[in-house]
Symmetry: C2
Subunit: 272 residues, 2 copies
DNA sequence: TTGCTCCCGTTTACGGCGTAAACGGTCGGG
DNA sequence: CCCGACCGTTTACGCCGTAAACGGGAGCAA
Protein backbone atom coordinates (compact mmCIF):
# COMPACT_ATOMS: atom_id res chain seq x y z
CA UNK A 1 0.00 0.00 0.00
CA UNK A 2 1.52 3.19 -1.22
CA UNK A 3 5.07 2.27 -0.39
CA UNK A 4 7.03 5.45 -0.47
CA UNK A 5 9.62 5.45 -3.19
CA UNK A 6 13.13 5.50 -1.90
CA UNK A 7 13.84 8.76 -3.61
CA UNK A 8 17.59 8.88 -3.81
CA UNK A 9 18.74 12.44 -4.06
CA UNK A 10 20.54 12.23 -7.34
CA UNK A 11 22.05 14.82 -9.65
CA UNK A 12 22.40 17.37 -6.90
CA UNK A 13 25.95 16.74 -5.91
CA UNK A 14 27.70 18.61 -8.70
CA UNK A 15 25.40 21.50 -9.36
CA UNK A 16 26.52 25.07 -9.23
CA UNK A 17 27.21 26.35 -5.75
CA UNK A 18 27.52 29.96 -4.88
CA UNK A 19 23.94 30.87 -5.29
CA UNK A 20 23.55 34.36 -3.88
CA UNK A 21 26.17 35.83 -6.11
CA UNK A 22 24.47 34.63 -9.22
CA UNK A 23 22.90 37.93 -10.12
CA UNK A 24 25.93 39.89 -9.04
CA UNK A 25 28.44 38.46 -11.43
CA UNK A 26 26.13 37.21 -14.13
CA UNK A 27 29.27 36.15 -15.92
CA UNK A 28 30.35 32.69 -14.76
CA UNK A 29 26.95 31.08 -14.29
CA UNK A 30 23.50 32.56 -14.08
CA UNK A 31 20.95 29.92 -14.96
CA UNK A 32 21.40 27.69 -11.96
CA UNK A 33 18.12 28.66 -10.33
CA UNK A 34 16.23 26.54 -12.76
CA UNK A 35 17.61 23.42 -11.21
CA UNK A 36 17.54 24.76 -7.68
CA UNK A 37 15.93 27.93 -6.35
CA UNK A 38 19.21 29.73 -5.95
CA UNK A 39 19.71 29.48 -2.20
CA UNK A 40 17.62 28.75 0.82
CA UNK A 41 15.71 31.07 3.03
CA UNK A 42 12.79 30.63 5.32
CA UNK A 43 10.21 31.85 2.86
CA UNK A 44 11.39 29.51 0.15
CA UNK A 45 11.28 26.60 2.53
CA UNK A 46 7.76 27.40 3.70
CA UNK A 47 6.54 27.77 0.15
CA UNK A 48 8.16 24.49 -0.81
CA UNK A 49 6.44 22.83 2.12
CA UNK A 50 3.07 24.19 1.02
CA UNK A 51 3.62 22.98 -2.52
CA UNK A 52 4.76 19.63 -1.23
CA UNK A 53 1.67 19.18 0.93
CA UNK A 54 -0.60 20.23 -1.91
CA UNK A 55 0.97 17.63 -4.16
CA UNK A 56 1.85 14.74 -1.91
CA UNK A 57 -0.31 15.21 1.14
CA UNK A 58 0.49 16.15 4.68
CA UNK A 59 1.49 12.68 5.79
CA UNK A 60 4.17 12.49 3.11
CA UNK A 61 5.95 15.60 4.32
CA UNK A 62 9.20 14.76 6.04
CA UNK A 63 12.26 16.89 6.56
CA UNK A 64 14.31 14.67 4.31
CA UNK A 65 11.83 14.69 1.46
CA UNK A 66 11.19 18.41 1.76
CA UNK A 67 14.92 18.97 1.67
CA UNK A 68 15.37 16.86 -1.40
CA UNK A 69 12.50 18.68 -3.12
CA UNK A 70 14.70 21.74 -2.68
CA UNK A 71 17.80 19.92 -3.83
CA UNK A 72 19.28 19.90 -0.37
CA UNK A 73 19.85 17.59 2.58
CA UNK A 74 17.35 17.63 5.41
CA UNK A 75 19.73 19.18 7.89
CA UNK A 76 20.15 22.25 5.72
CA UNK A 77 16.59 23.25 6.57
CA UNK A 78 17.41 23.53 10.24
CA UNK A 79 19.47 26.65 9.65
CA UNK A 80 16.23 28.47 8.77
CA UNK A 81 13.57 26.56 10.66
CA UNK A 82 13.86 25.38 14.26
CA UNK A 83 12.20 22.05 13.61
CA UNK A 84 9.33 20.28 12.01
CA UNK A 85 6.63 21.57 14.32
CA UNK A 86 7.67 25.17 13.78
CA UNK A 87 7.78 24.51 10.08
CA UNK A 88 4.14 23.48 10.16
CA UNK A 89 3.25 26.55 12.18
CA UNK A 90 5.03 28.63 9.58
CA UNK A 91 3.11 26.93 6.81
CA UNK A 92 -0.17 27.81 8.50
CA UNK A 93 0.89 31.40 9.04
CA UNK A 94 2.01 31.82 5.47
CA UNK A 95 -1.15 30.35 4.04
CA UNK A 96 -3.37 32.53 6.20
CA UNK A 97 -1.33 35.60 5.30
CA UNK A 98 -2.47 35.28 1.70
CA UNK A 99 -5.80 36.62 2.92
CA UNK A 100 -4.35 40.07 2.43
CA UNK A 101 -3.04 39.41 -1.05
CA UNK A 102 -5.10 41.55 -3.31
CA UNK A 103 -4.62 39.11 -6.07
CA UNK A 104 -7.99 39.12 -7.73
CA UNK A 105 -8.32 42.84 -7.79
CA UNK A 106 -11.12 43.25 -5.32
CA UNK A 107 -12.21 39.85 -4.24
CA UNK A 108 -11.10 39.63 -0.68
CA UNK A 109 -9.03 42.61 0.25
CA UNK A 110 -10.42 42.71 3.72
CA UNK A 111 -8.56 45.85 4.63
CA UNK A 112 -10.85 47.86 2.38
CA UNK A 113 -14.49 47.20 3.00
CA UNK A 114 -17.72 49.08 3.45
CA UNK A 115 -19.71 48.01 6.47
CA UNK A 116 -19.36 45.00 8.67
CA UNK A 117 -21.57 42.80 6.52
CA UNK A 118 -19.32 43.42 3.57
CA UNK A 119 -16.31 42.71 5.73
CA UNK A 120 -17.71 39.40 6.96
CA UNK A 121 -18.63 38.32 3.46
CA UNK A 122 -15.21 39.18 2.08
CA UNK A 123 -13.48 37.48 4.95
CA UNK A 124 -15.54 34.33 4.49
CA UNK A 125 -14.86 34.25 0.78
CA UNK A 126 -11.18 34.86 1.38
CA UNK A 127 -10.89 32.01 3.82
CA UNK A 128 -12.82 29.79 1.48
CA UNK A 129 -10.49 30.69 -1.37
CA UNK A 130 -7.55 29.68 0.81
CA UNK A 131 -9.17 26.41 1.82
CA UNK A 132 -9.96 25.45 -1.75
CA UNK A 133 -6.56 26.53 -3.01
CA UNK A 134 -4.82 24.31 -0.45
CA UNK A 135 -7.24 21.62 0.60
CA UNK A 136 -4.49 19.44 2.01
CA UNK A 137 -3.07 22.28 4.07
CA UNK A 138 -6.35 23.51 5.49
CA UNK A 139 -6.76 20.77 8.10
CA UNK A 140 -3.51 22.08 9.50
CA UNK A 141 -4.99 25.57 9.70
CA UNK A 142 -7.89 24.04 11.54
CA UNK A 143 -6.04 21.86 13.98
CA UNK A 144 -2.72 23.44 14.90
CA UNK A 145 -2.83 24.66 18.54
CA UNK A 146 -3.57 28.37 18.41
CA UNK A 147 -1.37 31.07 19.90
CA UNK A 148 -3.97 31.94 22.54
CA UNK A 149 -6.92 29.85 23.70
CA UNK A 150 -9.39 32.36 22.30
CA UNK A 151 -7.83 32.41 18.86
CA UNK A 152 -10.35 30.30 17.01
CA UNK A 153 -9.34 28.63 13.76
CA UNK A 154 -9.51 29.33 10.95
CA UNK A 155 -9.14 32.97 12.10
CA UNK A 156 -5.65 32.40 13.35
CA UNK A 157 -3.87 35.71 13.78
CA UNK A 158 -4.19 38.46 16.32
CA UNK A 159 -4.28 40.92 13.46
CA UNK A 160 -7.25 39.13 11.98
CA UNK A 161 -9.18 38.92 15.23
CA UNK A 162 -8.43 42.57 15.88
CA UNK A 163 -9.78 43.65 12.52
CA UNK A 164 -12.83 41.46 13.04
CA UNK A 165 -13.70 42.89 16.43
CA UNK A 166 -12.82 46.43 15.39
CA UNK A 167 -15.01 46.26 12.32
CA UNK A 168 -17.98 44.97 14.25
CA UNK A 169 -17.43 47.55 16.94
CA UNK A 170 -17.45 50.27 14.30
CA UNK A 171 -20.65 48.74 13.00
CA UNK A 172 -22.36 49.32 16.32
CA UNK A 173 -21.84 45.98 18.05
CA UNK A 174 -21.27 45.97 21.76
CA UNK A 175 -18.16 44.18 22.93
CA UNK A 176 -20.23 41.24 24.04
CA UNK A 177 -22.10 41.06 20.78
CA UNK A 178 -18.90 41.35 18.78
CA UNK A 179 -17.30 38.51 20.71
CA UNK A 180 -20.41 36.38 20.37
CA UNK A 181 -20.43 37.08 16.65
CA UNK A 182 -16.77 36.16 16.46
CA UNK A 183 -17.48 32.79 17.99
CA UNK A 184 -20.51 32.05 15.87
CA UNK A 185 -18.69 33.13 12.75
CA UNK A 186 -15.58 31.10 13.37
CA UNK A 187 -17.64 28.01 14.12
CA UNK A 188 -19.54 28.46 10.89
CA UNK A 189 -16.39 28.98 8.84
CA UNK A 190 -14.49 26.10 10.33
CA UNK A 191 -17.30 23.63 9.98
CA UNK A 192 -18.13 24.49 6.41
CA UNK A 193 -14.62 24.74 5.09
CA UNK A 194 -13.23 21.72 6.87
CA UNK A 195 -16.03 19.58 5.56
CA UNK A 196 -15.61 20.96 2.09
CA UNK A 197 -11.92 20.16 1.92
CA UNK A 198 -12.51 16.79 3.55
CA UNK A 199 -14.90 15.96 0.78
CA UNK A 200 -12.38 17.04 -1.85
CA UNK A 201 -9.71 14.90 -0.24
CA UNK A 202 -12.00 11.90 -0.03
CA UNK A 203 -12.93 12.15 -3.67
CA UNK A 204 -9.31 12.42 -4.68
CA UNK A 205 -8.29 9.43 -2.63
CA UNK A 206 -11.14 7.45 -4.12
CA UNK A 207 -9.94 8.15 -7.64
CA UNK A 208 -6.58 6.46 -7.28
CA UNK A 209 -8.18 3.46 -5.58
CA UNK A 210 -10.15 1.51 -8.22
CA UNK A 211 -10.54 -1.21 -5.62
CA UNK A 212 -12.27 -4.05 -7.41
CA UNK A 213 -15.87 -3.29 -8.22
CA UNK A 214 -16.96 -0.31 -6.17
CA UNK A 215 -20.38 -0.23 -7.79
CA UNK A 216 -21.42 -3.63 -6.55
CA UNK A 217 -19.85 -3.01 -3.18
CA UNK A 218 -21.72 0.22 -2.64
CA UNK A 219 -25.02 -1.29 -3.58
CA UNK A 220 -24.69 -4.21 -1.23
CA UNK A 221 -23.52 -1.88 1.47
CA UNK A 222 -26.57 0.31 1.17
CA UNK A 223 -29.02 -2.55 0.95
CA UNK A 224 -30.02 -2.26 4.59
CA UNK A 225 -30.07 1.53 4.60
CA UNK A 226 -33.18 2.50 2.61
CA UNK A 227 -33.16 6.24 3.28
CA UNK A 228 -29.51 6.40 2.51
CA UNK A 229 -29.92 4.47 -0.69
CA UNK A 230 -32.70 6.77 -1.83
CA UNK A 231 -30.72 9.88 -0.97
CA UNK A 232 -27.48 8.60 -2.41
CA UNK A 233 -27.57 10.47 -5.72
CA UNK A 234 -28.37 13.68 -3.84
CA UNK A 235 -25.56 13.06 -1.41
CA UNK A 236 -23.13 12.80 -4.24
CA UNK A 237 -23.99 16.21 -5.63
CA UNK A 238 -21.69 19.03 -4.66
CA UNK A 239 -23.61 22.12 -3.66
CA UNK A 240 -20.95 23.40 -1.33
CA UNK A 241 -20.76 26.88 -2.78
CA UNK A 242 -24.49 27.51 -2.63
CA UNK A 243 -24.78 26.07 0.83
CA UNK A 244 -21.90 28.18 1.99
CA UNK A 245 -23.55 31.36 0.74
CA UNK A 246 -26.86 30.35 2.22
CA UNK A 247 -25.42 29.63 5.63
CA UNK A 248 -23.37 32.79 5.56
CA UNK A 249 -26.39 34.88 4.72
CA UNK A 250 -28.35 33.24 7.47
CA UNK A 251 -25.61 34.03 9.95
CA UNK A 252 -25.50 37.64 8.84
CA UNK A 253 -29.26 37.94 9.18
CA UNK A 254 -29.02 36.55 12.65
CA UNK A 255 -26.29 38.99 13.61
CA UNK A 256 -28.22 41.88 12.15
CA UNK A 257 -31.29 40.91 14.09
CA UNK A 258 -29.32 40.80 17.31
CA UNK A 259 -27.73 44.15 16.58
CA UNK A 260 -31.04 45.88 15.95
CA UNK A 261 -32.74 44.32 18.91
CA UNK A 262 -29.95 45.51 21.13
CA UNK A 263 -30.22 49.01 19.68
CA UNK A 264 -33.96 49.31 19.96
CA UNK A 265 -34.41 47.83 23.36
CA UNK A 266 -31.20 48.99 24.93
CA UNK A 267 -31.38 45.76 26.82
CA UNK A 268 -28.69 43.33 27.69
CA UNK A 269 -29.01 41.25 24.59
CA UNK A 270 -25.39 40.96 23.64
CA UNK A 271 -25.34 37.25 23.91
CA UNK A 272 -26.43 36.38 20.42
CA UNK B 1 7.68 27.60 22.12
CA UNK B 2 5.62 24.65 23.18
CA UNK B 3 8.44 22.27 22.49
CA UNK B 4 7.27 18.74 22.93
CA UNK B 5 9.12 17.21 25.80
CA UNK B 6 11.44 14.48 24.69
CA UNK B 7 9.53 11.99 26.73
CA UNK B 8 12.01 9.30 27.46
CA UNK B 9 10.06 6.21 28.27
CA UNK B 10 11.27 5.78 31.80
CA UNK B 11 10.43 3.33 34.55
CA UNK B 12 8.81 0.87 32.24
CA UNK B 13 11.73 -1.43 31.66
CA UNK B 14 11.74 -3.47 34.86
CA UNK B 15 8.09 -3.88 35.63
CA UNK B 16 6.61 -7.19 36.51
CA UNK B 17 7.11 -9.69 33.79
CA UNK B 18 5.21 -12.86 33.41
CA UNK B 19 1.99 -11.38 34.61
CA UNK B 20 -0.49 -13.94 33.44
CA UNK B 21 0.89 -16.59 35.72
CA UNK B 22 0.33 -14.48 38.80
CA UNK B 23 -3.05 -15.91 39.64
CA UNK B 24 -3.28 -18.78 37.27
CA UNK B 25 -5.20 -21.23 39.34
CA UNK B 26 -7.99 -20.14 41.63
CA UNK B 27 -10.30 -20.81 38.79
CA UNK B 28 -8.92 -20.57 35.29
CA UNK B 29 -8.48 -16.81 35.45
CA UNK B 30 -10.05 -14.39 37.84
CA UNK B 31 -7.87 -11.85 39.58
CA UNK B 32 -5.02 -11.26 37.21
CA UNK B 33 -6.78 -8.44 35.45
CA UNK B 34 -5.69 -6.00 38.05
CA UNK B 35 -2.13 -6.10 36.83
CA UNK B 36 -3.00 -6.75 33.23
CA UNK B 37 -6.41 -7.15 31.62
CA UNK B 38 -5.99 -10.90 31.45
CA UNK B 39 -5.35 -11.28 27.76
CA UNK B 40 -5.60 -9.11 24.72
CA UNK B 41 -8.40 -8.64 22.34
CA UNK B 42 -9.30 -5.95 19.90
CA UNK B 43 -11.76 -4.22 22.17
CA UNK B 44 -9.32 -4.02 25.03
CA UNK B 45 -6.68 -2.57 22.76
CA UNK B 46 -9.01 0.07 21.36
CA UNK B 47 -10.14 1.07 24.82
CA UNK B 48 -6.55 1.28 25.99
CA UNK B 49 -5.76 3.50 23.03
CA UNK B 50 -8.65 5.81 23.89
CA UNK B 51 -7.51 6.03 27.48
CA UNK B 52 -3.97 6.64 26.38
CA UNK B 53 -4.94 9.48 24.07
CA UNK B 54 -7.12 11.03 26.73
CA UNK B 55 -4.24 11.01 29.16
CA UNK B 56 -1.13 11.57 27.08
CA UNK B 57 -2.41 13.13 23.89
CA UNK B 58 -2.66 11.86 20.38
CA UNK B 59 0.93 12.65 19.46
CA UNK B 60 2.24 10.49 22.29
CA UNK B 61 0.44 7.37 21.08
CA UNK B 62 2.86 4.89 19.57
CA UNK B 63 2.51 1.18 19.16
CA UNK B 64 5.31 0.54 21.62
CA UNK B 65 3.90 2.81 24.28
CA UNK B 66 0.38 1.54 23.82
CA UNK B 67 1.70 -1.98 24.13
CA UNK B 68 3.56 -1.23 27.29
CA UNK B 69 0.48 0.43 28.76
CA UNK B 70 -1.10 -2.99 28.35
CA UNK B 71 1.93 -4.78 29.76
CA UNK B 72 2.85 -6.19 26.39
CA UNK B 73 5.32 -5.65 23.58
CA UNK B 74 4.27 -3.58 20.59
CA UNK B 75 4.22 -6.51 18.21
CA UNK B 76 1.61 -8.28 20.28
CA UNK B 77 -0.93 -5.70 19.18
CA UNK B 78 -0.54 -6.69 15.56
CA UNK B 79 -2.29 -9.96 16.15
CA UNK B 80 -5.52 -8.03 16.77
CA UNK B 81 -5.03 -4.83 14.80
CA UNK B 82 -3.63 -4.62 11.27
CA UNK B 83 -1.59 -1.53 11.95
CA UNK B 84 -1.53 1.89 13.44
CA UNK B 85 -3.85 3.55 10.94
CA UNK B 86 -6.50 0.90 11.40
CA UNK B 87 -6.10 1.24 15.12
CA UNK B 88 -6.96 4.93 14.86
CA UNK B 89 -9.95 4.14 12.69
CA UNK B 90 -11.05 1.66 15.30
CA UNK B 91 -10.67 4.26 18.02
CA UNK B 92 -12.93 6.63 16.11
CA UNK B 93 -15.52 3.93 15.51
CA UNK B 94 -15.55 2.88 19.10
CA UNK B 95 -15.88 6.41 20.42
CA UNK B 96 -18.73 7.20 18.06
CA UNK B 97 -20.49 3.97 18.98
CA UNK B 98 -20.97 5.24 22.50
CA UNK B 99 -23.68 7.45 21.06
CA UNK B 100 -26.01 4.54 21.51
CA UNK B 101 -25.01 3.80 25.07
CA UNK B 102 -28.00 4.63 27.17
CA UNK B 103 -25.78 5.50 30.04
CA UNK B 104 -27.53 8.52 31.46
CA UNK B 105 -30.93 6.96 31.38
CA UNK B 106 -32.54 9.16 28.82
CA UNK B 107 -30.07 11.76 27.81
CA UNK B 108 -29.10 10.77 24.33
CA UNK B 109 -30.64 7.50 23.38
CA UNK B 110 -31.19 8.53 19.83
CA UNK B 111 -32.97 5.36 18.89
CA UNK B 112 -35.97 6.43 20.94
CA UNK B 113 -37.13 9.92 20.16
CA UNK B 114 -40.30 11.82 19.46
CA UNK B 115 -40.14 13.95 16.36
CA UNK B 116 -37.24 15.04 14.29
CA UNK B 117 -36.50 18.12 16.38
CA UNK B 118 -36.12 15.95 19.44
CA UNK B 119 -33.91 13.61 17.48
CA UNK B 120 -31.63 16.37 16.27
CA UNK B 121 -31.34 17.83 19.74
CA UNK B 122 -30.50 14.47 21.29
CA UNK B 123 -28.01 13.67 18.58
CA UNK B 124 -26.31 17.02 19.02
CA UNK B 125 -26.10 16.60 22.76
CA UNK B 126 -24.83 13.07 22.34
CA UNK B 127 -22.06 14.10 20.02
CA UNK B 128 -21.16 16.96 22.34
CA UNK B 129 -21.00 14.58 25.28
CA UNK B 130 -18.58 12.43 23.30
CA UNK B 131 -16.45 15.39 22.30
CA UNK B 132 -16.20 16.67 25.86
CA UNK B 133 -15.57 13.22 27.27
CA UNK B 134 -12.63 12.69 24.90
CA UNK B 135 -11.41 16.09 23.80
CA UNK B 136 -8.09 14.71 22.62
CA UNK B 137 -9.76 12.01 20.55
CA UNK B 138 -12.34 14.23 18.91
CA UNK B 139 -10.00 15.82 16.37
CA UNK B 140 -9.48 12.30 15.11
CA UNK B 141 -13.23 11.89 14.72
CA UNK B 142 -13.21 15.11 12.75
CA UNK B 143 -10.26 14.47 10.51
CA UNK B 144 -9.98 10.77 9.70
CA UNK B 145 -10.90 10.14 6.04
CA UNK B 146 -14.52 8.99 6.01
CA UNK B 147 -15.73 5.71 4.56
CA UNK B 148 -17.59 7.48 1.76
CA UNK B 149 -17.13 11.02 0.50
CA UNK B 150 -20.60 12.02 1.67
CA UNK B 151 -20.08 10.74 5.19
CA UNK B 152 -19.55 14.04 6.95
CA UNK B 153 -17.80 14.06 10.31
CA UNK B 154 -18.66 13.96 13.08
CA UNK B 155 -21.58 11.84 11.83
CA UNK B 156 -19.34 9.03 10.79
CA UNK B 157 -21.33 5.86 10.35
CA UNK B 158 -23.76 4.70 7.72
CA UNK B 159 -26.10 3.69 10.49
CA UNK B 160 -26.06 7.21 11.86
CA UNK B 161 -26.64 8.89 8.50
CA UNK B 162 -29.42 6.44 7.79
CA UNK B 163 -31.20 7.20 11.03
CA UNK B 164 -30.73 10.91 10.41
CA UNK B 165 -32.22 10.87 6.94
CA UNK B 166 -34.93 8.44 7.90
CA UNK B 167 -36.02 10.53 10.85
CA UNK B 168 -36.21 13.69 8.79
CA UNK B 169 -38.06 11.87 6.06
CA UNK B 170 -40.59 10.66 8.60
CA UNK B 171 -40.86 14.24 9.76
CA UNK B 172 -42.00 15.34 6.34
CA UNK B 173 -38.76 16.44 4.76
CA UNK B 174 -38.27 15.82 1.08
CA UNK B 175 -35.14 13.92 0.17
CA UNK B 176 -33.49 17.13 -0.97
CA UNK B 177 -34.42 18.96 2.19
CA UNK B 178 -33.23 16.09 4.35
CA UNK B 179 -29.88 16.00 2.61
CA UNK B 180 -29.54 19.77 2.85
CA UNK B 181 -30.37 19.56 6.53
CA UNK B 182 -27.82 16.80 6.95
CA UNK B 183 -25.13 19.01 5.51
CA UNK B 184 -26.05 22.10 7.47
CA UNK B 185 -26.30 20.08 10.65
CA UNK B 186 -22.97 18.33 10.26
CA UNK B 187 -21.24 21.62 9.50
CA UNK B 188 -22.72 23.14 12.59
CA UNK B 189 -21.78 20.22 14.81
CA UNK B 190 -18.25 19.90 13.53
CA UNK B 191 -17.48 23.58 13.80
CA UNK B 192 -18.82 23.99 17.27
CA UNK B 193 -17.42 20.86 18.79
CA UNK B 194 -14.02 21.04 17.19
CA UNK B 195 -13.57 24.57 18.40
CA UNK B 196 -14.79 23.65 21.85
CA UNK B 197 -12.31 20.83 22.27
CA UNK B 198 -9.55 22.92 20.71
CA UNK B 199 -10.15 25.51 23.35
CA UNK B 200 -10.02 22.88 26.09
CA UNK B 201 -6.78 21.54 24.73
CA UNK B 202 -5.24 25.00 24.47
CA UNK B 203 -6.13 25.80 28.05
CA UNK B 204 -4.68 22.54 29.25
CA UNK B 205 -1.45 23.02 27.38
CA UNK B 206 -1.18 26.53 28.77
CA UNK B 207 -1.45 25.26 32.32
CA UNK B 208 1.65 23.10 32.23
CA UNK B 209 3.64 25.87 30.56
CA UNK B 210 4.22 28.66 33.09
CA UNK B 211 6.62 30.15 30.55
CA UNK B 212 8.15 33.17 32.26
CA UNK B 213 5.70 35.95 32.93
CA UNK B 214 2.67 35.41 30.76
CA UNK B 215 0.88 38.43 32.20
CA UNK B 216 3.46 40.92 30.99
CA UNK B 217 3.82 39.11 27.72
CA UNK B 218 0.15 39.18 26.97
CA UNK B 219 -0.16 42.85 27.74
CA UNK B 220 2.66 43.87 25.48
CA UNK B 221 1.33 41.61 22.78
CA UNK B 222 -2.07 43.24 22.86
CA UNK B 223 -0.76 46.78 23.02
CA UNK B 224 -1.29 47.40 19.33
CA UNK B 225 -4.62 45.61 19.19
CA UNK B 226 -7.06 47.92 20.97
CA UNK B 227 -10.29 46.09 20.18
CA UNK B 228 -8.73 42.83 21.14
CA UNK B 229 -7.41 44.24 24.38
CA UNK B 230 -10.83 45.58 25.28
CA UNK B 231 -12.54 42.31 24.44
CA UNK B 232 -9.94 40.15 26.08
CA UNK B 233 -11.82 39.44 29.34
CA UNK B 234 -14.90 38.53 27.31
CA UNK B 235 -12.88 36.30 25.04
CA UNK B 236 -11.62 34.39 28.01
CA UNK B 237 -15.08 33.53 29.25
CA UNK B 238 -16.40 30.14 28.31
CA UNK B 239 -19.97 30.27 27.11
CA UNK B 240 -19.67 27.26 24.89
CA UNK B 241 -22.70 25.46 26.23
CA UNK B 242 -25.04 28.41 25.86
CA UNK B 243 -23.73 29.25 22.42
CA UNK B 244 -24.12 25.66 21.36
CA UNK B 245 -27.76 25.60 22.41
CA UNK B 246 -28.39 28.95 20.79
CA UNK B 247 -26.88 27.92 17.48
CA UNK B 248 -28.65 24.60 17.57
CA UNK B 249 -32.00 26.26 18.17
CA UNK B 250 -31.34 28.65 15.37
CA UNK B 251 -30.56 25.81 13.03
CA UNK B 252 -33.73 23.99 14.02
CA UNK B 253 -35.79 27.13 13.44
CA UNK B 254 -34.28 27.47 10.04
CA UNK B 255 -35.04 23.87 9.16
CA UNK B 256 -38.57 24.20 10.43
CA UNK B 257 -39.11 27.30 8.34
CA UNK B 258 -37.87 25.51 5.24
CA UNK B 259 -40.08 22.54 5.95
CA UNK B 260 -43.23 24.61 6.36
CA UNK B 261 -42.52 26.75 3.36
CA UNK B 262 -42.10 23.67 1.26
CA UNK B 263 -45.34 22.24 2.57
CA UNK B 264 -47.43 25.36 2.09
CA UNK B 265 -46.15 26.40 -1.27
CA UNK B 266 -45.47 23.00 -2.70
CA UNK B 267 -42.65 24.71 -4.47
CA UNK B 268 -39.16 23.52 -5.15
CA UNK B 269 -37.68 24.87 -1.96
CA UNK B 270 -35.76 21.85 -0.83
CA UNK B 271 -32.42 23.55 -1.02
CA UNK B 272 -32.38 25.03 2.43
C1' DT C 1 2.32 -40.24 29.14
C1' DT C 2 4.07 -38.60 24.88
C1' DG C 3 4.12 -35.77 21.23
C1' DC C 4 1.90 -32.65 17.90
C1' DT C 5 -0.14 -28.48 16.73
C1' DC C 6 -2.02 -24.18 17.27
C1' DC C 7 -2.23 -19.93 19.80
C1' DC C 8 -0.05 -15.85 21.18
C1' DG C 9 3.35 -12.92 22.95
C1' DT C 10 8.63 -11.98 22.23
C1' DT C 11 12.83 -11.18 19.82
C1' DT C 12 15.26 -9.63 16.21
C1' DA C 13 15.88 -6.79 12.31
C1' DC C 14 15.26 -3.10 8.84
C1' DG C 15 14.48 1.20 6.79
C1' DG C 16 12.81 5.79 7.75
C1' DC C 17 12.05 9.46 10.92
C1' DG C 18 13.55 14.08 13.59
C1' DT C 19 17.48 16.20 14.89
C1' DA C 20 22.27 17.10 17.70
C1' DA C 21 26.93 17.67 16.61
C1' DA C 22 30.95 17.80 14.04
C1' DC C 23 32.75 18.85 9.62
C1' DG C 24 34.39 21.23 5.43
C1' DG C 25 34.37 24.27 1.63
C1' DT C 26 33.82 28.86 -0.15
C1' DC C 27 33.21 33.30 0.33
C1' DG C 28 34.36 38.64 1.57
C1' DG C 29 37.22 41.59 4.39
C1' DG C 30 41.47 42.41 7.24
C1' DC D 1 47.02 35.94 1.94
C1' DC D 2 44.75 34.33 5.53
C1' DC D 3 40.81 34.13 8.57
C1' DG D 4 36.53 33.92 10.38
C1' DA D 5 31.69 33.61 9.15
C1' DC D 6 28.36 31.44 6.63
C1' DC D 7 25.94 27.35 5.06
C1' DG D 8 25.16 22.93 3.36
C1' DT D 9 26.90 17.89 4.35
C1' DT D 10 28.09 13.93 7.03
C1' DT D 11 27.66 11.17 10.75
C1' DA D 12 25.27 9.41 14.57
C1' DC D 13 21.53 8.40 17.93
C1' DG D 14 17.22 6.97 19.63
C1' DC D 15 12.49 6.20 18.39
C1' DC D 16 9.13 4.84 15.07
C1' DG D 17 6.06 1.16 12.37
C1' DT D 18 6.20 -3.33 11.23
C1' DA D 19 7.95 -8.04 8.69
C1' DA D 20 9.66 -12.33 10.04
C1' DA D 21 11.39 -15.80 12.82
C1' DC D 22 11.03 -17.69 17.31
C1' DG D 23 9.47 -20.15 21.60
C1' DG D 24 6.73 -21.80 25.16
C1' DG D 25 2.42 -23.28 27.10
C1' DA D 26 -2.33 -25.38 26.41
C1' DG D 27 -5.22 -28.63 24.45
C1' DC D 28 -5.75 -32.80 22.43
C1' DA D 29 -4.97 -37.37 20.14
C1' DA D 30 -2.55 -41.67 20.62
Amino acid sequence: MATMSDQTSDQTSDDVRDPDLVAVQEGPEAASELTRPAGLDREKILQAAIDFIDEEGLAALTMRRLGSSLGVEAMALYRYVPGREDLLDGVVDRVVETLWDDEDGDDVYIGDHSGWQDYLVRLAHGMRRIALAHPAVFPLVASRPPAAPWVRPPLRSLRLVESFLGTLHDGGFSDQAAVAAYRAYSSFLLGHLLLEVTQIGAQVSLLDQPEGDPQAQRETDLAEYPSLARAEPLLGQDKSAAEFEESLENLLDRLERVLHEAKNSGGDVGDL
